[in-house]
Symmetry: C2
Subunit: 365 residues, 2 copies
């Protein structure tokens, strides 16, 4: 029997009890007429969460990393140039994906803990007028930084690039407006601010992105992630074409989580993340714990804070886990050993969570 | 609320209640020390199910189609020649995967409903001494045919080819001996004879296969399915390296399903599938319903039978669904409209299931 934890790391977050119950519903056939209707409902709920009318809005049948790969393998052809902003782990992973597609990635690097600076991106886009895409991370889960997705997507459009946006940690937690901001392609995850188990990656592609996909010279290198096959599979009713067997119970969970989000209201959820972050921030300040990121660019749902001098960071995390059944996250990459990442995502974003975390840290430091 | 069905199609099968309960356990962090131990247990249970000592035996974090793609993208480099046997839908999908890797696939085609003939494969392997891999489907889910995996893998080895075996519908339902038969790479699914929800693809690779992966000239085209990154992620204890967030609750389900399989005993499970098939076969014969496949090559867990003359096959399936909440499968590809596929997989392989199906068919035809 696995222990029951309170999850305040970088994801997964605590899962809503209704979502866990939904996961345990008897599995139905993925071609059952009742399930086809259910998939239509998921499409509608996902469009509301992304604030988009994009027809191609669906959950990839694998975690967020596969959502990232889906964007890259569909939107880039061998030889295509793509500008990629790197201000943390996930920008680096984008580079890796672009290389493996045979694309020519151009990196624009920023200090970890700072946002992507549109001016520096513009300089690079000017230098590379042949670039066809610009990719960046809206919410860098490795550092807790929010970049200005709206400005960056405007910039991409101005330089005739498709924008590819990592919103894994954004969806449901902070403002994200796919249509208003002109995002061409976006991917997210279920285990962050949606508080469903990991295993699916919601994605959305607008017409400009789908035009690029439909006019490819070469087939998409991944059969599993081929968007044209996936859109056939996610088509309504009789037009539906078998592709793969979807993770049916995960879709039950996602459906339940999206319903919870919409009952609360998307903007109310953003506000709750903001309010709860302020409580945590004040409490951490009282403990003398400092943030990595300037207040202006902080993600409320992912708080990267410096381990106080002389404190053994791993020992503190172990004590929280053993004495409080509380998980907080370690630093990733260059932040390892020096920072913690405290998540306030979805079901883990409550006053009770803040209090438990502060009580735990007080005892453990 | 979705209806509760009895699943006797080509998969998913009915899920064991214990497995559904396991899916609803609170999600734990994928880097939690307790979860790392749990992953080790899954590795051990999977090795027992595959009857292998292969170190690299793990569940891919996506459905069976991704397991197939994992084998192809890791074991083939651009320009590699691979011989692929096609005797149903899934051999065709292998061709598609090989092409998208930039490999040179050579098809050996067989009539649908017949097994892969080793003699004809040998002729093709002789004609193509530069082939580096031979791929085939052990249990063709589209037709209900079992091919002789042992002989085919011997043949592959004799011609210096790595064998890639689709065992999606085999695992737990019929004899499958990865080490004894010299299978180099194998993939399966969770939603067939293991009776866990779809969403994971157990795979196993032996040393010969891993040598090929480790000596690649070019990186694997998929980051998400890169076996070296995946083996780092599935390494025990402190050697574990973060790759992606695993579908934790699906792993709960898989663990529970594998425990059920091992409590029953692997050979007992094979026998149960055989015995239950005989009951179904006798009952279908009494109804005058004929099999597509010769008795010698039939899969007990997937029965492809001809729709009697003058019967509207879709109307029968609709009646079974509406009046009995019973799902059976339609024919795929050239079998559409002419055949049904009746599954007896895992938890759906009981005398009660046979009786329900026969009662339903009697009423519906």
């Amino acid at each position: 029997m696995l222990p029951k934890r309170t999850l305040m790391g970088p994801g997964p977050s605590d899962i809503y009890p209704e979502v866990l119950q939904a996961m345990a519903q008897p599995t139905i056939g993925h071609l059952d007429p009742a399930f086809v209707d259910f998939m239509d409902e998921i499409n509608v709920l996902l469009r509301r969460a992304f604030i988009t009318q994009n027809a191609v809005t669906l959950p990839i049948s694998a975690p967020g990393s596969a959502g990232m790969e889906c964007c890259f393998v569909n939107l880039l052809e061998p030889g295509d140039k793509v500008v990629i902003a790197i201000n943390g782990v996930f920008g680096g992973r984008m580079m890796e994906n672009a290389r493996r597609c045979g694309a020519r990635p151009v990196a624009v690097e920023f200090e970890w803990g700072t946002p992507v600076d549109p001016d520096r991106v513009e300089d690079v886009l000017k230098e590379h007028p042949d670039a066809t895409a610009f990719a960046f991370v809206h919410s860098e889960t490795s550092t807790g930084v929010r970049s200005d997705a709206k400005s960056l997507c405007e910039l991409a459009r101005r330089y005739d690039c498709l924008s590819i946006v990592d919103a894994v940690t954004s969806l449901g937690g902070i403002e994200l407006r796919v249509d208003d901001w002109g995002i061409d392609a976006v991917y997210s995850g279920t285990q962050k601010c949606l508080s469903a188990p990991p295993g699916l990656s919601p994605v959305s592609f607008n017409d400009a992105a789908m035009d690029k996909v439909r006019n490819r010279k070469e087939p998409v290198q991944s059969w599993f992630l081929d968007l044209e096959l996936l859109t056939g599979y996610w088509s309504s009713g009789n037009k539906r074409a078998y592709h793969h067997t979807a993770p049916i119970n995960n879709l039950y969970g996602l459906h339940a989580a999206l319903e919870i989000l919409h009952r609360e209201g998307l903007e109310n959820s953003w506000q709750r993340h903001w309010d709860t972050y302020q409580q945590l921030r004040d409490g951490l300040q009282a403990l003398g714990i400092e943030y990595l990121v300037d207040p202006e660019y902080r993600l409320p749902q992912l708080n990267t804070v410096r381990v106080p001098d002389g404190v053994d960071e791993a020992a503190v995390r172990a004590k929280l886990l053993n004495d409080f059944n509380l998980e907080i996250g370690a630093g990733l990459g260059p932040m390892a050993g020096k920072y913690w990442r405290i998540g306030l995502m979805g079901a883990s974003c409550t006053t009770d969570h803040v209090e438990l975390c502060l009580r735990g840290l007080k005892a453990a430091i």
